[in-house]
Amino acid sequence: MSSATIDDRAVVKPPGLPSVLSVGWQRAKFDVRNFFRQKDAVGFTLAFPVMILVLFGSIFKGKVEGTNIEYSQVLVAGILASGVASVSFVSLSIGICNERANGTLKRLAGTPMPKLSYFLGKIGLVLTTAFCEVVLILGIGALLFHLHLPTDAGHWLTFAWVFVLGITACTLLGIAMSAVPKNEKSAAAVVNLPFVALQFISGVYVQYNSLPAGLRAVASIFPLKWLAQGFRSVFLPDSFLVAEPGGSWQHPVMALVLAGWCVAGLLLCRMSFRWGTEK
């Protein structure tokens, strides 16, 4: 009995297919390396929100009406939200659209790479670039615009769940959005158009409560408004609540809307994602 067991062990098993996680990890490393080699993409994705922050923060001075909070501090929270959406929604949808157009997706679909590993790689890419973006914006916010970084666990816990829900929703929507542009040439325009519009009505550049009610109603359907509001609740004191809708941070609604977009995003991905194999 025991000798049979030893014999079984002695037989060299042919190596099996690599696991979904190990290939996903390889995909993530590959995508991150590929991203940071493309200097123009790095510049646009990471540096653009920083540039807007520095420009707007320097041009528009003063305090938000009815509060003792500087506009630039509100702006940092807003840019943080748009930066997170930029590295997930915008960068991902344009990137995947390109990969579909140039045949990268088809090439991958022809290998034994698990399909799920591709998406794990994209998540790794988004998390890496988002980390860089958050550090950049918070650093500049703290250095130049008197951003107050919270020192208690409670605020950072709020940051964590807002960040995770927000980036998950934006990532899934970015993957789904990649199916919308007709070709890679139109991708940047098709993706940026709604994103730029949303930035203006979601309280990223313009203080949210000063917007017309109709625009606020539109913005409150989409994740960006809630992401910006969530980051304001982390980095602004409660004294700012007088300038917030309903005088509250609305955390429960925020969690519901962002989680709802995660579910909707997942469904949209499943319905729309194509590997570019069948024309």
Binding site: P14, P15, G16, L17, P18, S22, V23, Q26, F30, R33, N34, R37, Q38, E99, N102, G103, T104, K106, R107, A109, G110, T111, P112, M113, P114, T277, E278
Partner: protein, 294 residues
Amino acid sequence: MLPSRAVGGIVEGIMNNVIEVSGLQKRYGERTIVDQLEFHVTAGEVVSLLGPNGAGKSTTIEILEGFRGRDGGEVQVLGVDPAHPTRLWRSRLGIVLQDRSLNEELTADEMLRHFSTFYPQPRGVTDVLELVGLSEHRDQRVAKLSGGQQRRLEVGLGVIGRPDLLFLDEPTTGFDPEARRQFWDLIRMLAHEGTTILLTTHYLDEAEALADRALILVDGRIVAEGPPATIGGRGHLGATVKWVGADGAHEQLTETPTAFVAGLAAEFGGEVPELVVSRPSLEDVYLKMIGIHQ
């Protein structure tokens, strides 16, 4: 229960025929792209699907690669219906697509290393670089490689997983003659190692240089099949002898060119002026067939 011998026979059949296609049908709307296609490829063979643009070559190869569905017929590739691809099945295939989709900012070494992580028993990256002749360029960014070198890298990606079957879809389109020769040497080397290869091309000389067998596809049908040297009755069509006599240029079609030339030589008492003996080229046969079938 089947008797064990029958089972053995089936297994053997699958092992020998790497690709088996019968009655394959594919339509796009009203248009029939592939019509009742019937062929097989045995282990170790290099088979070329030859035909003009729009003949259905790429559609056929993409059905075999598991990229496209079909409207009818039976298809087995390495014993599996490609309509239901599995990872294990994919790990035994190498696919070189028509599109160029390399990551320009990465190096040949990085691309090969990454793709090797998808397979259970990949070849070594250094070996593949040597095989495809890119050892000297391993750390160069893809963008800096020439078109031919990029294509060889794509073949490298196709064979990194040690495939039993390699698909090449119009691999040398847009190559200069020297790059094509180098590419052909690579394919011959792979064939010599025992890799079964199915390639599509619209270059006749490519089929002639590489393939053990060619299938000429016109309008989604196979109109001729056989070794490139004899396809379409090429081996029996006789030879044309051309020469220049005192009264001008002559041309004679003959079944016995050797005897005919010997006769000419005797007539001229030595060298025959501007003597040319030629068999119909594959191109002649091919153009005749396209002409007949279109």
